[in-house]
Amino acid sequence: MNSAAPAVDIRNLQVRRGTTDVLHGLDLSIARGGVVGLLGPSGSGKTTLMRAIVGVQVVASGTVTVLGEPAGSVPLRHRVGYVTQSASVYDDLTVAQNIAYFSSVLGAPRSDIARVIDETDLTPFADRVVATLSGGQRSRVSLAAALLGAPELLVLDEPTVGLDPVLRVQLWELFHRLADAGTTLLVSSHVMDEATRCDRLLLMRDGAMLADDTPQALLGATGASDVEGAFLAIIASRGDVDADAAPPPARHGPGRRRHRHRRHARSVGER
């Protein structure tokens, strides 16, 4: 096992879904440890990139190496945790039954069940059937399942959608606790406010990586006061803001409803 290998190393990754090129020749390297934010509008290829890293995405060409092994290979299935955008848990089981099942599939220690339920603040709901929980609670069940067995790399696709501000802060604290313990976290979000909580930011648009830096460096280089401004400045400097391509990514695209919600959110603080 190569512990010096980067968490993720991607060379010339091309992914086609149907007739559209989602990723066209993407290169990316993510060092071990820390919380890496993957930001970009809906449809920019965030989920496809994450699926490629987890090894569930059919890839047209290029190599994806995770923790020194080919993505999706057998040894990685114990070492990588993945949370899909919609909660992938069983609605007709209780929280504890869901976690217990995933735990025995992983062969994680029994004590892990209580630990992950506690870490995601689900202890009061442990015996509730998932179908009766709110959207935010369901996505935390999905997150809890990914924490089982203490994976070295956690790939989280929009884990904070629909959570109330207090919970969101708590989850980010959890992410940093895990990162301090040596876990690498790749967290996607379309909420730019969350960017400042990351150790490193990847800005993605139209299947390409626009920027890859610390939040501070990104703001410094662009002179912008927030990440959204930095995003716009980078797009403008590339000169590809034309009439029909996107205005600010966070205000455009299929996820319109959520973005509107977000814009409103900025005026009233978090949420």
Binding site: G72, S88, Y90, V105
Partner: protein, 244 residues
Amino acid sequence: MNARRTLATAGRVLQQIRHDPRTIALLLVVPTLLIGLLAWIFVDTDVFQTIGPAMIALFPFIVMFLVTSIATLRERRSGTLERLLAMPLGRGDFILGYTLAFSLLAVAQASIAVTFAVWVCGLTIEGSIWLLLAVALADAILGTALGLLASAFARTEFQVVQFMPVLVFPQILLGGIFLPRDQLPPVLEAISDWLPLSHAIDALNAVAADSESAAWIWGQIAILGAFIVGAIVLGSITLRRRTP
């Protein structure tokens, strides 16, 4: 493949069903009620004695086909299958787990149906009741295996239900319930020889009339077994870790 993961999967499927008492009641009671209805319709004739054994083959087959195909389709659509395949779960663990869980349900269902048909409706079984149950169980597992396979070719619940007329109805029509298989037009008889349900119905009729040896009946069960293995192998090929 790993026994712990297979058993955990079977246990989880049964847990899911336990949270749904209405489904359990429907699974266990409806076949029995329909057999009772059939016996009542033909109360003054000997038709029930002719088609009753075949009915015992039909219900576990149809019900398990439907339940399994919808349950696996739900796994595919909810993202839980993707999560499981990104974990160290083998495809065989997944399929065998489902087969095991539904087989247990099928045993319960077939036992109730056979008991009712024999003790309440007066169906005469000349041969061994255990052989009858063994055939009914093989039939239920066949339904489960075909259901797993069908779910791979369906994108929606509507589509998967439509697979029932495609995969199940021809087997019922050609299985010898409406007309004994040896009286079918030769082409149809040849086709029916290649349909698994025909062998199940032949075996059940033989047990009911005690017209064949136990070895012959086990031969029919072995044919069902071959179809089960074939459907499970094809089904596991369609379970892909990587999807477009």
